[in-house]
């Protein structure tokens, strides 16, 4: 029978008084506290007896009180019906917590102000967690950037200094071989072959460190070139399908490239695949990339075990304010999918 009719005042009161996670209380039209609940006591540290009758500005830090914030908040609530605010509030012991506050103006049927309902949540932990996450992303972003700068420097050094010198040495060896009798000519010719092989390896290193196409031709050519080269070398059938309607920022492009490198290297090392397919598309003002293979499908399991390459891919994507997901079905291959916003990170836009 009870269930058929609306709960009575007593049951509402019980609900409000018992809620632990929200401070729910009322103010009279002048801003004095007229009711209190368990959540408010838990968050703010006052018992009902201590706080009822006091003005609610006691919860605000002195600088906010001096600026007239408590009064202004009530005025806005009256004008607009409600007010939501996030900011520092004081506990009874003077310590601060980060609060989400909603003040609702309560009017009777004659539109006469009866007081205010106030719901307060302690967001300190969430705020700390968000700040820690932001800080972590910022650091990873710096790390990634520093790594790219360093890679570029090494690439230029190798390219301009080491390879040039070795080219000159190789030419000198060939010239020498042409002037020597056998078997010395063959011996020197062999040296030239070694130098030539070393040059080829160094060129491969340079293009992995800093793909020249990324600077000059954009993302798709760089990724396609890399997939051709590397999948070809590993004997994997491969395809790259690109449908980009917008070129990502240089920062996003290098991140896409690096994640593709890491994902392909995972395919090579772990997947035992025979083919790999890559698609790039512009989706939601970002670049969506999907890398699928037909291998044994164990990469997803590795993610849980903290496989380094996968962690790095996740961190790169998140540092660029995107996401990355790996789905892996045993016997049915692995799909790495990630999305990065096209625009570079603008710190001011963060909440």
């Amino acid at each position: 029978m009870d269930d058929a009719r609306p709960p009575g005042d007593d049951r509402y009161r019980l609900l409000v008084q018992s809620v632990q996670d929200y401070g729910i209380f009322m103010l009279d039209p002048g801003g004095h506290i007229s009711s209190w609940n368990a959540g408010a006591e838990r968050i703010k540290g006052y018992s009902a007896g201590e706080i009822i009758g006091r003005h609610f500005s006691v919860f605000y830090p002195p600088e906010d009180v001096a600026a007239g914030k408590p009064v202004r908040e009530l005025e806005i609530a009256v004008e607009q019906g409600r007010l939501e605010d996030e900011g520092w509030r004081l506990r009874k012991d003077g310590t601060r917590f980060w609060a989400n506050v909603v003040i609702t103006a309560l009017f009777d049927e004659q539109r006469k102000l009866q007081g205010f309902g106030k719901v307060t949540r302690d967001m300190t932990e969430r705020r700390n967690a968000e700040q820690a996450l932001r800080e972590r992303r910022r650091l990873v972003g710096h790390l990634v950037e520093a790594q790219e700068v360093e890679r570029r420097r090494i690439a230029w050094d190798v390219h301009d200094e080491s390879i040039q010198s070795m080219v000159a040495v190789g030419m000198r060896l060939q010239l020498l071989a042409s002037r020597l009798p056998e078997p010395h000519a063959s011996a020197v010719g062999g040296l030239d072959e070694s130098v030539r092989a070393a040059i080829a390896r160094l060129r491969g290193l340079v293009s992995r460190l800093r793909p020249p196409e990324l600077d000059r031709h954009g993302l798709v050519e760089a990724v396609a070139g890399y997939v051709d080269e590397i999948a070809g070398r590993w004997g994997l059938a491969h395809s790259v399908r690109a449908d980009l309607t917008a070129e990502p920022s240089p920062e996003a492009a290098i991140t896409v490239y690096r994640i593709c490198q890491e994902a392909l290297s995972n395919v090579h090392r772990h997947a035992r695949a025979t083919r790999v397919d890559l698609t790039l598309a512009t989706v939601d003002n970002g670049t969506l990339v999907r890398i699928t293979d037909d291998g044994v499908g164990t990469a997803g399991g590795d993610a849980g075990n903290g496989h380094f390459g996968l962690i790095e891919m996740h961190e790169r994507a998140e540092a660029a304010h995107g996401w990355l997901s790996v789905t892996s079905t045993p016997g049915d291959g692995t799909a790495v999918e990630f999305w990065l916003p096209i625009l570079p990170d603008v710190p001011g836009l963060e909440p």
Binding site: H159, D160, V167, A168, G170, R172, Q174, L175, R196, H217
Partner: protein, 126 residues
């Protein structure tokens, strides 16, 4: 058959020297000038009017592309062989825009360099 007169231009001293020795070792080729930057290249090309200029793509003073454009203007009979550390399409496109069609990547065998110089030097000037 007269000697093929060649200008070499590269900012790397080791490459310059060995390239000179490699080409000079051929009886039908004579290196008449060696330059280390773009301005020197242009000046020496105008002065010597060689049959072939072997140009580094990346050089201080505007790069091989600028050298190629100026040589074409000041010594139109000189054929140009680009000798580059880069094998990518952008470098090739940049040189093609400056009128260079012959291109060798550094690391090519000496025989290929000699063969390219002969082929360019013996063709009638366009």
């Amino acid at each position: 058959m007269s000697e093929l007169r060649v200008l070499i231009s590269d900012d790397d001293v080791m490459i310059r020297e060995v390239l000179k020795d490699v080409l000079d070792a051929e009886s039908d080729i004579a290196v008449v000038a060696v330059a280390a930057d773009v301005d020197e290249t242009i000046r020496l090309a105008e002065h010597h009017r060689p049959a072939v200029a072997v140009l580094d793509v990346r050089m201080p003073g505007g790069g091989g592309a600028r050298a190629a454009r100026e040589i074409a203007r000041r010594s139109p009979g000189t054929a140009i062989l680009a000798f580059s550390a880069y094998a990518d399409r952008a470098s090739i496109a940049g040189l093609a825009a400056a009128g260079v069609t012959e291109y060798l990547v550094k690391g090519a065998p000496n025989a290929a360099i000699i063969e390219a110089v002969r082929r360019l030097g013996r063709q009638p000037p366009s």
